[in-house]
């Protein structure tokens, strides 16, 4: 076993010092990386003085001795518990940011469809990468996206040409191996779905090991006209895991896009989900579920940016907070002046089960068109005593009755999952959690 020496410089400095090792083979991408690097150097990590980070303090995270590009070593056996059983799927496993071909299984798809790694795509399909890389996820304002854009070299890459259907859903596992060192992993995903194409993606996060882990992920999803894309983010994490990430979805007219974000535990999780509805007649959904306990902290920042008329967006995020956990929900809806006849709905519902848990929820609507239907609602409450009594009066014990009610609370988020295997799996997580 080698002993890793940790230098005492700041995490930002340590990350920046690794820029020499980043591949410079593609001039276009390298130019973007350099720009992002400069931006990251200027911005530094956000503090709670930044309005977007008011309730999520990264300072304790970035003060830790995380090791960029730490080599991980996870066996298929160790991985087993993290893998969702599937009948038909492409499975890509990344450990500490690096692709693990031995742990991955790719399904043969129809001609023209590409499911591979970002690294591979950069050498094999440079024109697609160049056309989309960092075109959507903004690194000018967001330091973590800037850091990711400059340094993240691998992740999943998928390209589904016009009218093609991805037959096997893609399951991507981002594993942090924190057995030897506390790793910093940066992942970059690019998903491009052509006109009238269809695709389903799952990105799942898991830490194996006792030490802390820090993952910074950026996913850019380009949904073409009349295409249909469903994206799942599954974070059934360890209590020592830190995850920050941005999912940026660029939506063209007539498309369908659905996002599901499920977070269980994790020391600190920050999910940014930005949907840009750049066309008309778009049907877009954002579903979120967070079940928090202990000291964990989960922050969901979402944006539905309506730029064109006649589109629909619907958002439902639900959370159950116990122990000393804290949650943040910030839901932005922008309706730009051209986006008449927009329908945009947002709902955030929370159960806070202990007096030490806390939820901060903030809807943020900025509407610049006059003929729109927008609504938002947020609730923070407890389990309903009358429901509890009803169940108990039928012989169901207090704990089981609580579990039944909590599962019921989560149900209307989960029932929108069309990947049955994911639905079943998440349902089991929830059952394990509450019983």
């Amino acid at each position: 076993m080698s002993i890793q020496t940790i230098d005492k410089s700041s995490l930002a400095e340590r990350v920046i010092s690794t820029f020499d090792t980043v591949s410079k083979q593609n001039a276009v991408v390298t130019a973007v990386r350099l720009e992002a690097l400069t931006r990251f150097e200027t911005l530094g990590f956000p503090s709670i003085k930044n309005e977007e980070w008011k309730y999520t303090n990264l300072k304790p995270v970035v003060n830790q001795d995380f090791v960029p590009n730490a080599v991980g070593n996870i066996s298929a056996e160790q991985l087993q518990d993290s893998i969702i059983p599937t009948e038909k799927a492409s499975i890509l496993v990344f450990v500490n940011g690096a692709y693990q071909p031995a742990l991955s299984v790719l399904t043969q798809e129809a001609e023209g469809i590409v499911v591979t790694t970002f690294k591979e795509a950069l050498s094999k399909y440079p024109e697609i990468v160049e056309a989309h890389f960092a075109k959507y996820a903004d690194f000018q304002k967001d330091a973590l996206t800037a850091m990711n854009t400059a340094f993240a070299e691998d992740g999943v890459f998928a390209y589904v040409p016009d009218k093609k259907v991805l037959e096997a859903p893609v399951y991507v596992y981002f594993i942090s191996d924190s057995q030897q060192v506390a790793p910093l992993s940066q992942l970059r995903n690019l998903i491009v779905a052509g006109r009238s194409s269809q695709a389903k993606f799952v990105t799942a996060f898991h830490t194996i090991g006792e030490l802390h882990s820090f993952t910074n992920v950026v996913t850019e999803i380009v949904v073409g006209e009349n295409a249909s894309v469903e994206h799942y983010i599954l974070q059934n994490e360890a209590e020592q895991a830190y995850i920050v990430g941005t999912t940026q979805a660029q939506l063209a007219r007539d498309c369908h896009f659905t996002s599901h974000t499920v977070s269980l535990n994790g020391a600190l999780i920050r999910n940014n989900l930005n949907m840009v509805l750049a066309g008309s007649n778009i049907d877009a959904h954002m579903y979120g579920l967070y079940l928090l306990n202990g000291n964990c902290h989960v922050d969901n920042h979402t944006l539905a940016d309506h730029q064109q008329p006649n589109s629909f967006s619907n958002e439902l995020y639900k959370g159950i907070l116990d122990g000393k956990s804290t949650g943040v929900f910030n839901g932005k809806i922008y309706v730009k002046p051209d986006a008449q006849k927009t329908n945009a709905f947002q709902s955030n519902r929370n159960l806070v089960l202990s007096k030490d848990a806390a939820m901060n929820t903030k809807p943020q609507l900025e509407i610049f068109a006059d003929d729109v239907k927008c609504s938002h609602g947020a609730t923070v409450g407890q389990l309903d005593d009358e429901m509890l009594f009803y169940l108990r009066s039928r012989g169901i014990g207090f704990e089981s009755a609580r579990a039944l009610l909590m599962r019921a609370f989560a149900d209307d988020v989960l029932q929108n999952m069309t990947l049955e295997e994911v639905h079943t799996h998440v349902d089991r997580w929830i059952a394990d959690r509450f019983l």
């Binding site: 012989g395 169901i396 019921a408």
Partner: protein
């Protein structure tokens, strides 16, 4: 089976039951009648273990045990069933799943093996026929969007499934038209046996045309002030409650 002795109970600071006595034996049906605010629903709630009600004096003995020491679920596991006046709607919980959980928790508490899916469905079918309930109703979330009549029928169906020793029907007739009332009452009658007992809490006599009681008690100002047979209910129907009030104050 059930012996209530000098029961006093209050909600918040308000004393509602003020020394209630009642004796129920297996096979009997008791009707508790009384004007609004006399404490009928409080009695039902106290027996089922609703937490907002505080017993300040007296005792309730059920099958040789101190009922007041038991949690609501323990009471149910030992055979007490409350048919709610206002059954609560629980979105996201299907009636089927709910009942399977309930039956198996009760069986576990009694040291019996859990019912498997096949036997559970068999039992469901049998009881559905008994109380004449449609399975489309049971596939929906528990009571969600049910009409008043459907909710009450679901209560009786649950009663059939759980086979209680002592069932308490809390104003099961309220909000029902005569047809719904008859269907619900028929269901209850089919569940009568020499081993179980039923307490029917009601404001009106009409339910007792269908569920014929052995005893009728009039509850007024937190006490049972008059007891009799089913003829007493008819007399109340005819004369109203004023004569009782007059009799008590005299």
């Amino acid at each position: 089976m059930l012996t209530i002795n000098n029961l006093h109970a209050r909600v918040e600071e308000k004393e509602i039951l003020k020394g209630l006595n009642l004796e129920v034996k297996p096979g009997e049906i008791h009707a508790i009648m009384g004007p609004n605010g006399s404490g009928k629903s409080t009695l039902a709630s106290v027996l089922a273990g609703r937490e907002a009600y505080e017993v300040t004096d007296g005792s309730v003995n059920y099958l040789g045990e101190d009922l007041l020491e038991l949690s609501p679920e323990e009471r149910a596991q030992k055979g007490i069933f409350l048919a709610f006046q206002y059954p609560v709607e629980i979105p996201g919980v299907s009636t089927t799943n709910f009942l399977k959980t309930a039956i198996n928790e009760i069986r576990k508490a009694r040291g019996e093996e859990a019912l498997d899916a096949v036997n559970f469905l068999k039992l469901m079918k049998e009881k559905m026929k008994l109380v004449n309930i449609d399975d489309t109703l049971l596939k929906r979330a528990l009571n969600e969007g049910f009409s008043g009549g459907e909710k009450k029928r679901n209560e009786v169906f649950q009663m059939a499934m759980l086979e209680p020793k002592l069932a308490i029907l809390d104003e099961t007739d309220s909000g029902l038209d005569i047809d719904a009332l008859r269907i619900v009452a028929e269901g209850v009658n089919k569940l009568r046996s020499k081993d179980n007992a039923i307490i029917v809490v009601t404001h009106y006599q009409r339910l007792l045309d269908y569920i014929v009681p052995d005893f009728v008690h009039v509850l007024y100002k937190g006490k049972i002030v008059k007891s009799g047979t089913k003829e007493l209910a008819l007399e109340l129907e005819e004369k109203g409650y004023d004569w009782i009030k007059a009799e008590v104050t005299v």
